[in-house]
């Protein structure tokens, strides 16, 4: 039951991040559509991989009351299907989904608060995925709360910095904002007593 709940949470969060990154549909640069399709594929395969791994654990437990099937020889389609399934399982779909979703967000017109919300939902997705995979409880993240809070604070600062009107119209102001944000993150990382 708990496993089903965490699976559902991962599914909802995947749908939320893909939908959020795809919005607004108007004004997106060329390439947004293929990136969206890639993100959706990554989400679906990632979810299938997660569901397959939890179902495999249950199936093993069910089979344990019987003798091993002892099927020595597989037919060619069965062997191909098994190879395809193992190849799909080997791909790190969540990582690809993260890259695709951030890329999709980058292809949309700048909206700092929109990107910040996407970051928060991505963080929640990673936490839900870890819970679903390891069967741990949400309380496991209690020790990480100060770091998460600091990270969210930094994200808020960077969003605010991005939202401020640039002092000049040249490309240097953008670089400056990015460098400032990275410096702030590094400073926070060094200063935090972990």
């Amino acid at each position: 039951m708990r496993n089903a709940r965490s699976l559902l949470a991962v599914c909802l969060l995947e749908a939320a991040i893909v939908a959020w990154a795809a919005l607004p549909a108007a004004g997106a640069r060329p390439g947004a559509k293929p990136t969206l399709i890639a993100a959706v594929c990554c989400a679906v395969f990632g979810l299938a991989k997660l569901a397959a791994s939890s179902t495999a654990v249950r199936a093993t437990a069910d089979q344990d009351r019987g003798l091993p099937e002892g099927k020595l020889f597989l037919s060619a389609p069965e062997r191909m299907w098994q190879q395809a399934a193992s190849a799909l399982i080997a791909v790190p779909w969540p990582q690809l989904l993260i890259v695709a979703v951030i890329g999709l967000e980058a292809l949309h017109p700048p909206a700092p608060w929109h990107t910040a919300v996407l970051g928060l939902v991505l963080l929640g997705y990673l936490a839900a995925l870890q819970i679903a995979e390891s069967g741990a409880r949400l309380a496991m993240f209690a020790v990480q709360l100060p770091l998460i809070a600091a990270g969210i604070g930094l994200a808020a600062i960077s969003v605010a910095a991005a939202a401020l009107p640039a002092s000049s119209t040249g490309s240097g102001s953008g670089w400056l904002a990015v460098l400032a944000a990275v410096a702030a993150i590094l400073a926070a990382a060094l200063a935090l007593p972990v």
Binding site: K49, S53, A61, D64, R65, G66, L67, P68, A90, P92, P94, Q95, I98, V99, I102, G103, E105, A106, P110, P112, T115, A116, L118, G119, L123, L126, L129, Q130, E133, S134, G135, A136, M140, V143, Q144, L147, I148, A150, G151, I152, L154, A155, A156, I157, S158, V159, A161, A162, S171, G174, A177, V178, A180, A181, V182, I185, A188, A189, L192, V194
Partner: protein
């Protein structure tokens, strides 16, 4: 999902052992790193500071990565019980020490015919992993998978601990009432015999003769008849019982096969007769002939269980007639209870031979499986073959009955009292059957 090679360690119950472990970057850490790198990369490419902010929480979470994790942990294994019965719950105990701040998840990966439960961590630091064996035999319990994480879940390692096998005794078939022969050997026991003796079962009265015990005088009868009358009691005797298990053929669904049923019924019968202080011998009719000489008591029960556990597999005499067996394994005048699917013609011949030698033999048929009906084009032929097979089986049973060997069927579910009821109500008159 885990691409890291797992390490299998075979532990035996005993003192703490040091097990080396290798930590790997966890999938969670890899995902956090992807988020951080992608965020920073897109921030630089697009020159949008908000992407750097998106990477900030992931980057900060990754600073919890430390290299000073334990390189070895201590593991102690204890098996709750090495002797079990089918369906009985047992537990394996595991204690992990030297984890420091790392967290561990322990899970039993059960072997076939074992059902594992969820691990529980006790207050004493021991993980208790319950399991239930569902089929008799010397069974491997399985392996214990241990997954460990650091407190930030950025690194993880795996360990597989092998659990020793358990000896699982068959579930004893229920048998309350016993088949008792009318003619019992002169050995003190608990069955009421037809001869007068020192038992407690009242048999009648007779005239007092000098030397009789005065406390046995029946005063009401003495008053009525005018002469001293004495109470007479029956003797209490033990009988010799031979339990014959036929495991030469094993047909049917595993767990309910003919060998499973034969073994459960034989174990239940032998234990019940031993509880009644009878002398019990066991003969295993498998690929080899094995036997245990008749005896009584707790040690005999252990010996019988050991034989049953290895029935059909251990070394023994080449399979032949039962005439070669010594008197201790087949005492004259013994009651022979056979548990067999009656598929071995050698056994049928051996039963005929026993009957001809005057043994009281009763066969409990444990064949519950039937050949499948077949499908497709060969269905008609298969059904014909099935009918012929059934007729052959009926012929075997009929021929045994004609010899005076009763054959009763047991389905493995009901108590053995039900099929044996016609023979447990009164002492079994073996002489009549011999003369039939």
């Amino acid at each position: 999902m885990n691409t890291v090679a797992e390490k299998t360690v075979g532990l035996t119950a005993g003192p703490r052992r040091e097990l080396p472990i290798t930590w790997q970057l966890s999938a969670h850490a890899r995902r956090l790193a992807t988020l951080a790198i992608a965020g920073l990369l897109f921030a630089v490419i697009t020159r949008r500071a908000e992407f750097a902010g998106l990477a900030a929480p992931a980057l900060l979470l990754l600073i919890g990565y430390r290299a000073d994790r334990p390189s070895a942990i201590g593991a102690e294994l204890a098996t709750g019980a090495e002797l079990m019965t089918e369906g009985e719950q047992g537990a394996v105990l595991l204690r992990l020490t030297g984890l420091d701040a790392a967290q561990a998840r322990v899970r039993l990966r059960p072997a076939p015919w074992i059902t594992g439960g969820d691990a529980e961590l006790g207050a004493d630091g021991w993980y208790r992993l319950p399991f239930v064996p569902h089929r008799w035999g010397i069974r491997p319990v399985g392996t214990i998978d241990v997954t460990m994480w650091d407190r930030w879940r950025l690194t993880e390692c795996w360990l597989t601990v092998g659990v020793p096998s358990v000896t699982c005794h068959p579930r004893l078939a229920v048998l309350d009432s016993l088949v008792v022969l009318s003619k019992l050997p002169a050995r003190l026991g608990e069955h009421t015999s037809r001869h007068p003796g020192e038992g407690i079962e009242f048999d009648g009265v007779r005239d007092f003769v000098p030397g009789d015990r005065q406390r046995r005088i029946n005063w009401p009868a003495t008053t009525r008849r005018g002469t001293l009358q004495l109470n007479v009691f029956t003797a209490e005797r033990a009988q010799n019982v031979v339990v014959l298990i036929d495991v030469s053929t094993d047909v049917g669904e595993p767990g309910r096969s003919s060998a499973d049923l034969a073994v459960r019924a034989a174990a239940g019968t032998a234990m019940r007769y031993l509880a009644a202080r009878d002398r019990v011998a066991v003969i295993s009719f498998g690929r080899k002939l094995q036997w245990i000489a008749s005896a009584t008591g707790r040690r005999q029960a252990d010996r019988i269980m050991n034989l049953i556990m290895t029935a059909g597999t251990a070394a023994g005499q080449p399979l032949g007639g039962l005439s070669a067996l010594p008197h201790s394994a087949l005492p004259p005048g013994a009651l022979v209870i056979v548990f067999s699917p009656l598929l071995s013609l050698r056994l049928v011949e051996a039963l005929r031979e026993l009957r001809e030698r005057g043994f009281a033999v009763i066969v409990v048929d444990v064949l519950v499986a039937q050949p499948s009906g077949g499908a497709g084009r060969n269905r008609a032929i298969t059904q014909l073959a099935r009918r012929i097979w059934r007729m052959e089986q009926e012929a075997i049973r009929f021929s045994l009955r004609e010899l005076g060997i009763p054959v009763v069927a047991w389905d493995g579910q009901a108590p053995l009292d039900e099929p044996l009821a016609p023979y447990t109500r009164r002492p079994w008159l073996t002489t009549e059957m011999v003369n039939r």
